[in-house]
Amino acid sequence: MTGHAEKLPEELKLVTAAHVKYIQSLDTKEDEYDYWLTEHLRLNGVYWGLNALHLLGHPDALPRDKTIEFVLSCQHPSGGFSAAPGHDAHMLPTLYAIQILVMLDALDVLEQRGAGKVQVGQFVADLQNRATGTFAGDEFGEEDTRFLYAALNALSLLGLLSLVDVDKAVEHVVSCVNFDGGYGVSPGAESHAGQVFTCVAALSIAGRLDLVDADKLGRWLSERQIAGGGLNGRPEKKEDVCYSWWVLSSLAMIGRTHWIDREQLIGFILRCQDSELGGIADRPGDMVDVWHTVFGVSGLSLLNYPGLEPVDPVYCMPKASIDRVMGR
């Protein structure tokens, strides 16, 4: 399709200033009940918000020192991080903590004031099931390809992939593939765009994208785009901004973003904005939240929407941060 975002109607422009304000406002809602009910997602929310701000070109819109203090306040002696102080450590907030520190170029605080990088890496590594290669989210053992991806992501950012059996992890990912080229949450499970993202990104980190049947997977992924331009996560489901990111980033990893309609997806994401108060929703007209805001902005970035910092499709972080930490 021809045409560029610049030619979109006025109401279909990215409202950057409003989004920045929206994200900044998230930590000022202490008088709202929901603010307290979502405390178990606080660190996750900082990663989502900070990532969106970086991509929007406002990396300093959250106070750096305060953010680092908060991250450190979530660390446990085990090395793992919880989503908020006093909660239990878990794989996902541990990844988010590392991602935040990488974006802030502050990984060193783990050595200076935290439990040390190796201890963090060990927390992650200990969650690997050495028999099957997959990972649990915490000591209670729920296994899911999300955690496998989170582990490889976190360890590669720390430069500690050697702590785990990467080959076994790769084997596990391969065992989750389906006839349609997609991946499920575990062997035998239905293909699901979120799981495709985690599996393909994990293979990408492991340097084993050669194991992906890119044409077959690309076909399945491209069929996720439906009328209206948004992408769904499985056949015959509704479109959603978060699934749009997982499908799009997976297509990017296998070099096939041109298999869907760029302009229509841009239009869909922009229609999900609250153009007055900022933030992006799952679908047009719905309530915005920081989760869909970061995936919407990341999607636009990957689609080269003007004025955004480039995003890394594997890490869902600013490409500049990844280049710096990887010494590229």
Partner: protein
């Protein structure tokens, strides 16, 4: 509000009274939450977790916020230090299987059964346990503890505790069917059933769980958690730990039922496809039976396509069946020893069917165009030859139709055109 799905955007302006009410709610919640987290900071295992008030506290928090994962963990620790700590696997003299509790109704009378209020205020049965004096597992069997009456005191009976716990999570999972933490907690409870109860008793609990999954899937046919959970429950029910045997036939019948009530339920089609190899092996099916089975599946999906020719789910299952013929992967094989001539004739038959479908249907069916392309290429491959000029003409026509009916995926058609050698650029 960290991630909301399908909630309409509204501008909420709170009245002073609402603000005041929110303030009260926040104060109550923060108090509960901080007491819970303070306790969680104490060393574990410790008798503190066995105190009945702690289990009640987690219930207060979780009924307000089922996503509070740490509260679920604390609840596990309570049980591990409490009523689960004094039991070892094997038959318990105080609880002969099948006599001490009511069967299969989802609402055992001993536990709180109304959705929230009673569930959160009634202390758990474990409350009556004295705190353990040492590390878990070292206490004597409560059946010989004179302080309690094992016949009526649920604290002495992990079966009753488990049932009361499952009951506690039931209204929460119904209200929050996509909350990972509740599903995980239930799985943990079910695992405890295997660890702590005699196999027949544990088995009954797992069987009832299959009923719950069925109910959840009736409410939402595609619930990803519920389907995954179902596979997990079934594989445990099949396992030696629960004295189980294969359930492939019953589960296959279940997919039939699900598909009948909703043809676009790809989750059911997917599960069906996954069950077939196991099913045929267990039936000891020979080549003729396997071929007949494949034919039946093709008939089934054709009937579905007649009703929903634009339904992706149906076309994916069709693709899955075709992949059994065209893919080398024996893992998928329904009829692995099919003679090559039969393979080609099946595909030719499908080509005729799809062409008829397109003729009967007024509109373009782009998935049918794609399927035809797949079939034409597969036939040439199976016959180990290049495509004929006639076939290439057909492919070009189909591709033109795809471009016209599905411009969104233009990039894919471009790549595909190049791939199959139709493009002048090659």
């Amino acid at each position: 509000m960290a991630s909301s799905h399908g909630v309409a955007r509204t501008i909420r302006i709170r009245t002073p009274a609402q603000r005041e009410a929110d303030k009260q709610k926040i104060a109550v919640y923060r108090d509960l939450d901080s007491r819970l987290l303070a306790l969680n900071a104490s060393p574990y295992p410790s008798p503190a977790f066995a105190d009945p008030s702690v289990l009640a506290l987690t219930a207060e928090v979780l009924s307000r916020n089922p996503e509070h994962y740490t509260a679920w963990n604390v609840r596990r620790r309570c049980l591990t230090c409490g009523s689960f700590s004094r039991h070892s696997p094997g038959p318990s003299p105080s609880a002969p299987p099948g006599t001490s509790w009511a069967p299969t109704t989802p609402s055992p009378s001993s536990a709180a059964s109304s959705p929230s209020s009673s569930a959160v205020t009634r202390p758990d049965p474990a409350s009556q346990c004295p705190p353990p004096s040492g590390p878990s597992g070292t206490r004597p069997d409560p059946a010989i503890d004179p302080a309690t009456d094992p016949a009526t005191d649920p604290a002495t009976d992990p079966d009753k505790t488990l049932r009361s716990e499952l009951q506690f999570t039931f209204p929460l999972i119904r209200a929050n069917p996509k909350c990972y933490w509740i599903w995980n907690y239930r799985l943990w409870l079910l695992q405890q059933a295997i660890n702590l109860l005699p196999a027949p008793v544990a088995r009954r609990i797992w069987e009832e769980e299959l009923g719950l999954v069925g109910m959840m899937l009736n409410k939402d046919q595609r619930n990803f958690h519920a389907w995954g959970y179902r596979r997990h429950v079934v594989s445990n029910l099949e396992s030696p730990a629960l004295a189980g045997a294969s359930m492939a036939e019953a589960e296959f019948a279940y997919t039939q039922q699900k598909i009948s009530s909703g043809l676009s339920n790809f989750s059911a089609w997917h599960y069906r496809g996954r069950l077939i190899p196991q099913l045929l092996t267990e039936r000891g099916a020979g080549d003729a039976e396997r071929r007949a089975f494949l034919d039946d599946e093709f008939s089934l999906i054709r009937r579905a396509l007649d009703v929903g020719p634009e339904d992706q789910s149906c076309w994916y299952y069709h693709q899955f069946l075709v992949s059994n013929i065209t893919s080398a992967s024996s893992r998928l094989a329904i009829a692995p020893n099919l003679p090559s001539a039969d393979e080609v004739s099946i595909l030719r038959h499908e080509v005729e069917y799809i062409k008829d479908l397109l003729e009967d249907y007024d509109e373009d069916i782009k998935l049918a165009f794609e399927a035809l392309i797949d079939h034409i290429l597969a036939i040439a491959r199976l016959e180990d030859r290049e495509t004929t000029a006639e076939e290439r003409g057909e492919l070009a026509t189909l591709l033109a139709k795809l471009r016209a009916s599905d411009p969104m995926r233009k990039g894919r058609w471009d790549a595909f055109e190049k791939d199959i050698g139709l493009s002048p650029s090659r």
